[in-house]
């Protein structure tokens, strides 16, 4: 005759108990704030200027906090405009590495919040700062859309950041799982662009270096194996 398993009572109580604890833990968690939408449109104007328009939405609405726009040494940011239909009260603060946009406690920004500003660079403009918030998107979502337009007569050269899909060498766009703080685009005048320009960008150089390292490593390995082989 089969003996009853002495642990069956424990298992019978433990399994539903654990499930109840897990369910209670899930219910007790506060709802997370998340970035529901982020659409950035960047238009390059000439060699040194760009105009940025960003519409972003955070859920719940009051979890937005401050918005930060990174600052780079060779650049100046133009006046910030916030909101298209309603204009919320906000203040900007110049911090060492960023410009902070803070909204008055009693005047919540509209949803979605729309920000508009210009960027001027003393040198050729490659790096455009984008606004970021301290709220992350939900996992497995791609709520961040970025579109870029280069001036007529110019073309994109090599890979930039973040990786965009380009049409006609002038219009780039892509969707991402998180909002980047900067957009980096390498461009050239279309008539003076050369076939190897893409290889002279950091992305091209690092790809070439990777191939170089792999080839050198393989050659060293092969030479070592050959010298160890009995003659």
């Amino acid at each position: 005759m089969l003996k009853p398993d002495p642990t069956w009572r424990v298992r019978r109580v433990a399994a539903p108990g654990l499930m109840l604890v897990a369910a209670a833990a899930c219910l007790a968690q506060p709802p997370h704030a998340y970035l529901a939408a982020y659409r950035a449109q960047v238009a390059f104007i000439g060699e040194q200027d760009a105009s940025v328009t960003v519409a972003l939405e955070v859920v719940p609405h009051d979890a937005l906090g401050q918005v930060l726009i990174p600052r780079f040494a060779d650049q100046e940011l133009g006046a910030i405009e916030a909101g298209s239909s309603a204009s919320p009260a906000f203040a900007t603060a110049e911090l060492p590495g960023a410009l902070a946009i803070r909204f008055a406690k009693d005047a919540q920004p509209p949803a979605p919040l729309e920000l508009h500003y210009g960027v001027h660079s003393r040198l050729r403009l490659r790096r455009v700062p984008l606004p970021v918030v301290g709220v992350a998107p939900q996992p497995q979502q791609h709520p961040v859309q970025i579109s870029v337009e280069l001036p007529p007569g110019t073309t994109v050269v090599g890979e930039g950041f973040p990786a965009l899909a380009w049409r006609n060498g002038r219009h780039g766009e892509a969707q991402f799982a998180a909002a980047p703080s900067v957009l980096v685009v390498e461009s050239e005048l279309a008539r003076s662009a050369r076939w190897f320009d893409g290889w002279l960008t950091p992305a091209g150089l690092s790809t070439a270096a990777m191939f170089g390292l792999l080839l050198t490593g393989s050659a060293v390995w092969w030479a070592g194996a050959r010298s160890r082989r009995p003659r």
């Binding site: 970021v132 996992p139 979502q141 890979e159 990786a163 799982a177 703080s181 490593g217």
Partner: protein, 474 residues
Amino acid sequence: MSSLSLHFAIVAALYFLVILAIGLFGLRKTRTEEDFLTAGRSIGPWVGGAVLAATQISAGTLVGTVGRHYATGVSWVWVWPGVWCGWLVSAIFVGPKLREFGAVTIPEYLAARFHSETARVLSAIFIVCAYMILLVAQYQACGVLFESIFGFKPIYAMVILTCSTLLYTTLGGVRSSSYIDFLQIMIVVSGLLLSVPVLAHYSGGVRSAGSFLATLDLRIVGSWYNGKQLFGFALSFGLAIAAAPYEMVRFNSMRDKATVRYAIGVCFIFQALIGSCVLLMGLLTRALFPSLPSPDQASSMMAMNVLPPLVGSLFMVALLSAIMSNVNAILLVASSGISHDIYGKAINPRASERVKLAINRASIVVLSFFPVWFALNRYTDVQSIVVLQTRFVASFFFVPMVLGLNTRGGSSRAAVAAMLAGVAGCLAWSIGAAHLSTNIDAVEVGIVSSLLSYLATDAISRRSLRARTANAQA
């Protein structure tokens, strides 16, 4: 399929063809169980050093540590001195002596050193349990990676990982995995070295990124953790590495004592490079993507959106390979515990080499699917799972391993008491004192209880032995 997915698929296919070839080479050279577990003790210092680094540099480092630097900033870097101290202890007090001892597995060493079959079985069972926790971290990281690249459900990623790792683990054992580890560490190091300048360029230089990070949260560039917390983390990693069974199994595959020391030196070079790059990668990725849904996504976001497609794909393949290498090392050490120590010594000591090899391969298959459910539930981030596992390994193994190798005393009861007290102390503190802000880490409690139990039980055993001898003489 996006451009990166296509690049990744091509690079991954080429890479897996290479590892299949190496696996078949390993299969041709493997004849006995000892050959399977120690590669015929033929591995040299450079491959050995790369293998040690590759065994330690896993998803824990390339996903977990990058994620931890991403979330908490610079201060996590102070964990590395703990890791290096662990390697130093291993190089001086553990590795060469263990290699000289000649045991095939850690439970075998403990059984021989303390004349205790209980120590053998206990340590083999603990190895299986503790390393299943680490396997959860690897599977979870793999799920995150595949989700980011292809948008796959994590379960598919885990099944792919398990099947491909099974292939080369069951085929060639330690020999093939050693050569694959060497290849993988080379790709990881070159990928890391190339990614840092690209990241720095995009974020406007390290100084610019630093001031932006300070604006995000001053603790990122200052101290996120206090000294006591960091000491606890560093101690966990250091002590676990000094006595980690899956690292030690690698020593057994090296030619001799001198090779072990040389290999640990080579491993230091790899780790210094990787540690610095991982720190910069975490920080610069935070500057570029300040709010990711999970810190564990920092590596994959960096590879997919920052690096050029070919370099990014190669980096992701290396990352996947690091996970596979770690899964492989864990499976080898856990399955050897089952086949060699539990089945071959405790259950059926007359088992033939062929039967033990078959049990070994079968247990690899069974163990590899076991942690999938836990990984799918994602209880916490990858690095936290790794920290949990290192605490338990250090508390269980450090005292009996290090004292056993470096002192003459120590009875079988002392070894068993040290292992049980260490893990019990660590577990009790982890559960009972989690809510207390004592700043005492569970590993400190585990090690102290293990050491005290070892010394106390040893003293009692000696006393009773002396009394018995005196009685016998009388």
